[in-house]
Subunit: 447 residues, 2 copies
C-alpha cells in the first residue's frame, strides 16, 4: 500500500519514518502522542482522490489534518493510521467581487485568506485566535466559531459551496456561488462539522462581507445576570454588535490581577466587553446607565485601551498561573447561563474544595467557558470535572461542545447532548458514506 | 393497514373516500390531479410516529403535506399514496425572549407564527407571499426563500433546532436553542430542503430578530447591468438593505403598462426597487446619481407609493394578461445574470419567435425569474422552454431552482445542477434513512 501511495503522490507527497513531522502527532490539545504510519501531502484534488482510493481498497484508516490547531483531539493519529495533510493544496483560486465570494483550497491558512479578501476590499467573516496557522479546510471540518460569531455566524453560515473527496476516492463537488440553491440535499452542512469522518474537504466557496466600519469598545460593570441580558437586548436593538463577552466576577478578578491591571478596582459581579461597528455605543451606554442596567463603563479611547479589556478576557496568562488548567466549552440557552454557572461552581467545589473555578464566555452566542484548575493533580480529576459539568449541561438542555467539536476528548460524552436516535442517525449516515469506516475512525462517534 | 391507521389516529385523523379534501390533490402549481388513498391528520408527534410505523411496516408510500403552497409539485400524491397533513399539529409552544427563539409545531401557519413573534416584540425573519396559508413545516422542508432573504437568509439560516419523524417512526429530536452547537452531524440542514423525502418535520426552533426600523423604498432607473451591480455594492456598504429587486426593461415595461402606472414614462433598461431599514437611503441615491450609477429615482413618500413600486415588481396581473404563463426560478453568479438573460432571450426567441419573454429577480440573492408565455399552446412547449433555459443554466454554472425546490416538476432536470456523484451521495443518504423508500417517492430524486 505504501508503495502505491508513493507512486501516486511522489516522494514529497508520501512521507514515512523520520520524515514524518513531529507536528503530525497532535493538535493543540496536546493529547496526541503517536506518529502515524505515513503522512500524505497531496498537492491536488486528483492526488487526494488517488490517495483515498488506495487507502479504501486496503481498508487503511485515514486521519485528515489541517493546521493542527483543534482542541478536541480530532486530528490526532494512531500508530496504524495514515495522516493526510492538505498543507500543499493551498491558495485562493478566485474572488468574485460582484457576488462577494471566494473560492479557495482547503490547505489555505485562514490569515492568508483574510489578507487576500482585504486586498480585494472585503472582510472574510471567519476569524479565530489560531488564524496564523489554522487552515480553512479544518475550519470547515470543525465548523469553527471564534471571534465574529455574534456578527457573522459560525463557519457554516459563511459557506456557500464545498468540494470533498469521499472515502472511496470519488470527488463530490458542490462549489455553488449562489446564496439561493434549492436543488436537493445540502451537502455543505453535512461535511461542515463532521470532523473528517465523512470526507476530506478539498475546496470551498466562502461568502465575503463588506469591510466593517470602525469598531468601538466598552467594558461595562453590571451587578446581576439579569442586567447582562438586558444590556444584550438593548445592544442588539440599536447597535451592530460585533462582540458581547461576559466575565463572571471570579474570572474578571483573577485575570485582572494576573494582568496587573486595575480596570475596575472593585471587580463587579459581571464585567461585559461590548463592541459595536459604527456609531451609537456611547448613547447606548448612557441610556443603560440611566436605566440602572450598568453601574459603570469604560469606553476605549484607543486600540491600547481596547487591548487591555481583551487581555483580561483572553486570559492568556492563566495557563502559566494555573498549571493543568482545564477549559470547558459549552452552550446553553442564554437565560440559563448564570443558573448553570452557580450549579456548576457548587458541584465542582463540593468535589474539589480548593479548585479554581471561574466563568466567562461569548454570552451573545449562548457560549460559556468554564476555567477549572485542581489544587492537586488527582488521578482522573479531569474526568471528574467533565462528569460534573456535562451532567449539569445535560440537565439544562445544553450542548457539551459549543465550538471546539467532539474529536476524542468529548467523544464519550456525546450522548449527554445527542439522543440515542440522533446517534443512530449519525451512524447510518456514516455507514452510508464510509461503509468501511476508514475516515477518521474513533473520532466523534462513540463506539 | 387503513384499519390500523384509523385505530391509531381516530376518525378525525384518518380520512378516506369522500372525506379527503380536494385540496389534498395539488400544491399551488396545480400540477396534481389525484386524490390519495387516505389523508392522515395526526395531532401529536406520537401520532405522526405511529402513522409512519404502520405505513413503514406495510411498505406504504407517504406524502407529507403542509399548506400546499409549493410550486414544484412536491406535495402532490399519487392514487396509491397516503397523504400526511400536519395541519392539526399547530401552534407556538414557547418563546424565549432572552435567547430570541421560538419553538413551534410544524402545522403552524407562517403568518400566525409571525403574529406571535410580533406580540413578543420580535420579527420572525421568514416571510413569503403565501404566508397566510403556508405552514412552517413546509417552509423548512422546502427551505423557503421569499422576501427577506437578502436581509435574513433562507429558512435554513434561521433554523436553530428541528424534530422529525423518520420513515420507520423513530422520532429524531434536535431541538437545540443554541447558535453554537458543535456536537456531530448537523441534522437540521439535512432535513431542511429535503422535501419530505428523509423524514416528516414535526417541530422546530426558529431564531427571532429584533423588529426592524422603518423601511425606506426607492425605485431607481439604470442604463446598464454593470450599473445595477455597482448600485448593489454601494447599497450593501452603507445601508441595511432589506430588498434589492431588479426588473429588466421587458418586464418593467409590460407590468407598468398592465398596472396602468407611469412610474417611468420611458422604461429604462433596468429598474431596481431598493429598500433599506433605518436611515441613509436618500444620501446614497444622491451619491449614486452624482456618480452616474442611476439615471433617475423615485423615493416612496408613503406606503401607497411603495405599494405601486411593488405592484409592478410582483406582476400579479400577468397571469391574466398572459394565459399559460411559465415562471422559471433560477440562480446564477450575480455578475452573469444579464449575460444569461440575453442568451436565454435569444434562445427562446429562436424557437418561439412570438413568445413573451421577460426577466426580473431578487438580484441581491443571485436569484433570477424568467417569465415566458408562448403565443400558441404548442404541445411540449413548456418542456422546450425548460430545456432551453436549463441547458443555459448548466452552462453558466447556475442552479435550476433558487427557491421553489425540485418536487416533480424539476426532478428530471436535477442533473443539470447536481453532478452524478452528488446525486449518488443523495441516493446513499436517502437509502440509509429510508431504506424502503416510503417517504415521498418519485419526488426530488430522478429515478
Amino acid at each position: 500500500m505504501l508503495a502505491e501511495l508513493l507512486a501516486a503522490l511522489g516522494p514529497a507527497g508520501c512521507l514515512t519514518g523520520d520524515r514524518v513531522a513531529e507536528a503530525a502527532r497532535s493538535d493543540a490539545s496536546r493529547s496526541g502522542q503517536t506518529l502515524p504510519l505515513a503522512l500524505l501531502r497531496p498537492s491536488s484534488v486528483a492526488e487526494v482522490s488517488a490517495a483515498l482510493e488506495i487507502c479504501h481498497r486496503h481498508g487503511q484508516p485515514v486521519v485528515p489534518q489541517g493546521g493542527m490547531t483543534g482542541l478536541a483531539g480530532g486530528a490526532n493519529p494512531r500508530s496504524d493510521d495514515v495522516a493526510l495533510s492538505l498543507a500543499r493544496f493551498a491558495g485562493v483560486e478566485e474572488i468574485d467581487p460582484d457576488a462577494g465570494t471566494m473560492l479557495l483550497r482547503a490547505g489555505t491558512v485562514l490569515e492568508r485568506a483574510q489578507e487576500v479578501a482585504a486586498e480585494a476590499g472585503f472582510l472574510l467573516p471567519i476569524d479565530l485566535g489560531a488564524r496564523g496557522s489554522c487552515q480553512i479546510g479544518g475550519n470547515i471540518a470543525t465548523n469553527a466559531g471564534g471571534l465574529r460569531v455574534i456578527r457573522h455566524g459560525m463557519t457554516r453560515d459563511n459557506l456557500l459551496g464545498i468540494e470533498a473527496v469521499l472515502a472511496d476516492g470519488r470527488v463530490v463537488s458542490s462549489l455553488g456561488r449562489m446564496v439561493k440553491n434549492n436543488t436537493g440535499y445540502d451537502l455543505r452542512h453535512l461535511f461542515c462539522g463532521s470532523e473528517g469522518s465523512l470526507g476530506v474537504i478539498t475546496r470551498a466557496v466562502i461568502r465575503l462581507r463588506p469591510l466593517p466600519e470602525a469598531r468601538q469598545t466598552a467594558l461595562c460593570a453590571l451587578s446581576s445576570y439579569r442586567a447582562v441580558l438586558t444590556l444584550l437586548d438593548m445592544a442588539r436593538k440599536t447597535l451592530t454588535v460585533s462582540a458581547f463577552e461576559a466575565m463572571w466576577q471570579d474570572y474578571f478578578a483573577f485575570n485582572q490581577q494576573i494582568a496587573r491591571l486595575s480596570l475596575f478596582a472593585n471587580p463587579p459581579p459581571f464585567a461585559v466587553i461590548l463592541e459595536a461597528e459604527g456609531a451609537g455605543l456611547e448613547p447606548l451606554l448612557e441610556q443603560a446607565f440611566e436605566a440602572g442596567v450598568i453601574d459603570d463603563a469604560l469606553v476605549a479611547q484607543s486600540q491600547t485601551d481596547a487591548r487591555r479589556f481583551w487581555e483580561v478576557r483572553e486570559g492568556h496568562a492563566m495557563e502559566t498561573a494555573l498549571p493543568g488548567l482545564i477549559n470547558l466549552d459549552i452552550s446553553l440557552p442564554v437565560a440559563r447561563l448564570d443558573d448553570f454557572a452557580q450549579a456548576c461552581r457548587a458541584g465542582l467545589r463540593a468535589r474539589f474544595p480548593d479548585a479554581h473555578v471561574s466563568f466567562y464566555g461569548h454570552v451573545g452566542d449562548s457560549n460559556l467557558h468554564v476555567a477549572v484548575a485542581l489544587a492537586d493533580n488527582a488521578e482522573d480529576g479531569g474526568h471528574e470535572v467533565d462528569r460534573i459539568a456535562y451532567d449539569l449541561v445535560r440537565g439544562f438542555g445544553g450542548s457539551i461542545s459549543a465550538e471546539h467539536g467532539i474529536g476524542t476528548l468529548k467523544r464519550d460524552w456525546l450522548g449527554h447532548s445527542r439522543s440515542p436516535v440522533e446517534l443512530a442517525v449519525m451512524r447510518q449516515i456514516k455507514a452510508a458514506l464510509d461503509p468501511k469506516g476508514i475516515l477518521n475512525p474513533g473520532k466523534l462517534l462513540p463506539a
